[in-house]
């Protein structure tokens, strides 16, 4: 479970206009796809970074699996993995195998254990026959998969994806959602997906909606759909829902 209790956060620049996350409280559970939505500068990526413990909160409390992710990251490892928007920023190994091994080396695992996990994860992500391949030879979609695999190989309880599909081609996006579905429903992984693509709303079971540092909405997808136009205008509303509403409205 991820719990935010009255969390506020601001960056060092404290001018009037600067961004501030204001007293945000919510809890997220495993077993469903959790979505964090909002426009540019809404605070959604800040929330993702706080969940992972990359920054300390200014007030309030963040708990992941009942521990403080920032303190955990400082002292004894991580509670939640994060996958950033641009895979180029996350790949550290020269080959697929080296990139998969990087996190495991830092966890201090034995060579035998590392080898097992690398083979298993690479196979699951369709990278099994590319272990010796230089990462520079991978396509954009394959690099994104490698980033996900390199986090998953460490077997985190939660994974936070920051706009995972924005650099993927439409074919790879479909593949990505299949993988997420499998991990959420068959491997017990906790998943949070930060996105500003309207159509991604269809993939989320639970939704947190941010605007200008405020959390305007938390609830299920169907609650979001019923939340009314004043809320919908603050977010990207999927064309598919607009179309359904038009079709339904004529029968009312």
């Amino acid at each position: 479970m991820i719990v935010f209790d009255q969390v506020s956060f601001w960056y060092n620049d404290r001018s009037e206009t600067s961004f501030k996350l204001k007293e945000v409280s919510f809890s997220l559970e495993k077993g469903c796809v959790n979505g964090v939505i909002g426009g540019n500068g809404s605070g959604k990526s800040t929330v993702a970074r706080l969940m992972v413990g990359l920054m300390p909160v200014n007030s309030g409390c963040v708990r992941v699996l009942d521990k403080d992710p920032y303190q955990q990251l400082l002292h004894s490892g991580f509670l939640a993995g994060i996958i950033f928007q641009n895979p180029e920023n996350q790949i550290v190994g020269a080959t697929v195998e080296e990139d998969l091994a990087f996190g495991l080396e830092n966890l201090g695992l034995s060579h035998a254990e590392m080898h097992c996990r690398i083979i298993e994860t690479a196979t699951r992500f369709g990278l099994g026959n590319m272990l010796r391949e230089p990462v520079a030879n991978l396509s954009g979609g394959q690099k994104q998969l490698l980033c996900i695999a390199s986090v998953m190989v460490m077997e985190p309880a939660w994974v936070i994806f920051d706009e995972p599909t924005s650099h993927l081609d439409p074919w790879s996006r479909l593949e990505f959602w299949k993988i997420i579905d499998e991990f959420v429903h068959h491997h017990g992984l906790g998943v949070v997906i930060v996105s500003q693509l309207a159509e991604d709303l269809n993939r989320f079971d639970k939704i947190l909606g941010f605007s200008n540092g405020n959390m305007l909405f938390q609830g299920s997808r169907s609650e979001f759909r019923q939340a009314g136009e004043s809320l919908h205008t603050c977010f990207n509303y999927p064309e598919s829902w607009k179309f359904e509403q038009l079709m339904v409205s004529e029968h009312v």
């Binding site: 909002g38 426009g39 540019n40 500068g41 928007q85 641009n86 396509s139 954009g140 979609g141 394959q142 706009e163 924005s166 650099h167 993927l168 081609d169 439409p170 074919w171 790879s172 996006r173 479909l174 500003q196 309207a198 159509e199 990207n236 064309e239 598919s240 607009k242 179309f243 359904e244 038009l246 079709m247």
Partner: protein
Amino acid sequence: MFDKLELKNLTVRYGSHVLLKELCGSFSRGHINLIVGRAGSGKSTLLRVLAGFHKEYDGSIEADGANFEPSGNISLAFQNPEALFFNGTVEDEVGYALKMRKLNRSEIEPVARAWLQKWGLNPERCWNNHPLELSGGEKRRLALAACTIFMPPVVLLDEPLAGLDAKGQRALAELLAGMTSEHIVIVVTHEPEILLEQSGSLLFLHSIGSRWLKPAEFLRESLIDRNFFPLPEWYCNAVGQFAQSSDLPPIRAEAVYRFIKSRECKHADQL
């Protein structure tokens, strides 16, 4: 200003690997020219060839019938162009290309202010700001303003809509459409549905052969073969049965709704 940029038997290689083979066709002024395809199909490489950065190719590129010289005639905006800001103020960033063309500060300022306004940025508000202090959508517009201030006849944009919110995407789509009267605008994108209405041609890059399609042909092909290009599922479900129709609607809820209603009326009339 050019009217047409023509590719003649363009074969592009990376070492021994042939990425694009005997590509023929043209990009025109007056509408947005789209390039789509899977990751690794050569979209960005084609932009780099047009920009003169990638030289491993055979065939030729002609602008209005003469050999095309990229230097000074093109501007290429990379993916996430705001990551390349290197000036301390918005003023210096947007005016940099003019400074490199030996214009002095007093000549640059009015042009730069007008250009920012054209790109939807208020110079009064942001002139002395650091470029990184702007919001995500503003940064993207500043980056594209800085790329185009010297009025290059050909503007190449690699994923200009990626990472912007819907409002930013719509605003940028309108700005790009507005540019097409004076520039040949070529856009690589994974989201052609946003720009399809403003585009006149679409180059679909594929390892087994590339094709130039009209937007309507692209929609039709994608509806008939879902694997050709994955259009949004709701759109395929709604208009899939009318794939052969000559007036397929754009991928917007209201347009699709009107299209379906008109089809139902036609059907009722026939009965």
